[in-house]
Amino acid sequence: MAAMLTLAWVYLQIGMMFVGGGYVLIPLMHHLMVDHYKWLTMREFLDGLALSQLTPGPLAVLATFTGFRSAGFAGALLATICIFLPCTLFMMLVGRYYERLKRIDVIKQTLDNLMPAVVGLIAAAAWNLGAASLSNIKEFAILALGFVIFKFSKLSPMLVILGAGVVGFLIN
């Protein structure tokens, strides 16, 4: 029970820090799940990120995966509810007061100022994950290929991830 409460509280906190789009969750959850609570290994975290790309839902379904790891199906359900609770409540508040909120430009300005830090953290997440998981030239080549495909083609991430899985299976 205490473990479930901790789980709920951790995901609620992540839900409250979930600003400026889903990708901020990569540095946040990497830190909390892998370094701090050690609920996942770094490999599992990366695999969970790949799995989260296979659904229509937001990247935040990573919470479902990490919750499942900690406490099975109940953990997955609890983690998913808790990570989305703050933004769902927030959107309903916005829905109620948006006529008045339109004039509060401080919120928009703050988000605008905060976004560069989010970008820095995401870049750092790529750096930290890469430094810890890439070990040979083959993997760097796959990374470069993935980068080029995501950057310059309109292929859906789902297909690219599945394709990478097939390539990995064939060459390893």
Binding site: M92, G95, A117
Partner: protein
């Protein structure tokens, strides 16, 4: 902000968003565009202007895709509508990821799956890099913002500070700057 003229069935709200959540591949903006097409254009549940006003705040906290669903549901039927839309949209992904997680944690020691995942890991890092580059080009438009991005990067990548703390510190700085700019005007 409820639509008083015709109350829309909660079940219809739930099913509409469950369908979006099941078929709306592409994530983020692609989902928002799909919600707009279905709810504004096809069903006429709300006007384009109301939809745009509502989702103007959808990028602050949480995923843009889910927020556009929650807002539309709330607009139609209050809290119950908002919850029905949010749960409907998330349910398909939740079920898919739960099943995939179960398969993964049951079979991830199989050498075949290990080999496949060795191929996906670098690609996931490539995806994160592309996001950082694209967001950076969109968000970093001044020297001050570049400095903010660099500080956050260095604090996390080299000094290994806690990302939650970095984000919190950056939020305080961002709010302070926003207030300062407003006072200065």
């Amino acid at each position: 902000m409820q639509n008083a003229t015709k109350a829309i069935d909660l079940r219809e709200i739930f099913l509409t968003f469950a369908k979006i959540g099941l078929t709306g591949f592409g994530g983020g903006m692609a989902i928002v565009a799909l919600v707009e097409r279905v709810c504004v254009k096809e069903k006429g549940w709300l006007s384009d202007e109301e939809f745009l006003h509502g989702i103007a705040f959808g990028q602050i906290l949480g995923p843009f895709s889910l927020n556009s669903c929650t807002f539309t549901g709330y607009y139609l039927r209050g809290v119950a509508g908002g919850v029905a839309a949010a749960v409907g949209f998330m349910l398909p992904s939740f079920v898919i990821v739960s099943v995939l997680s179960w398969l993964y944690f049951t079979y991830h020691t199989l050498p075949e799956l290990q080999a496949a995942l060795k191929g996906t890991n670098p690609v996931v890092i490539g995806l994160i890099l592309v996001v950082a580059v694209d967001m950076g080009r969109k968000q970093i438009k001044s020297g001050g913002k570049l400095l903010m991005a660099l500080l956050a990067f260095l604090a996390s990548a080299l000094l290994k500070y806690n990302s939650a703390l970095i984000l919190l510190a950056a939020a305080v700085a961002a709010l302070g700057l926003a207030i300062y700019k407003r006072e200065a005007r």
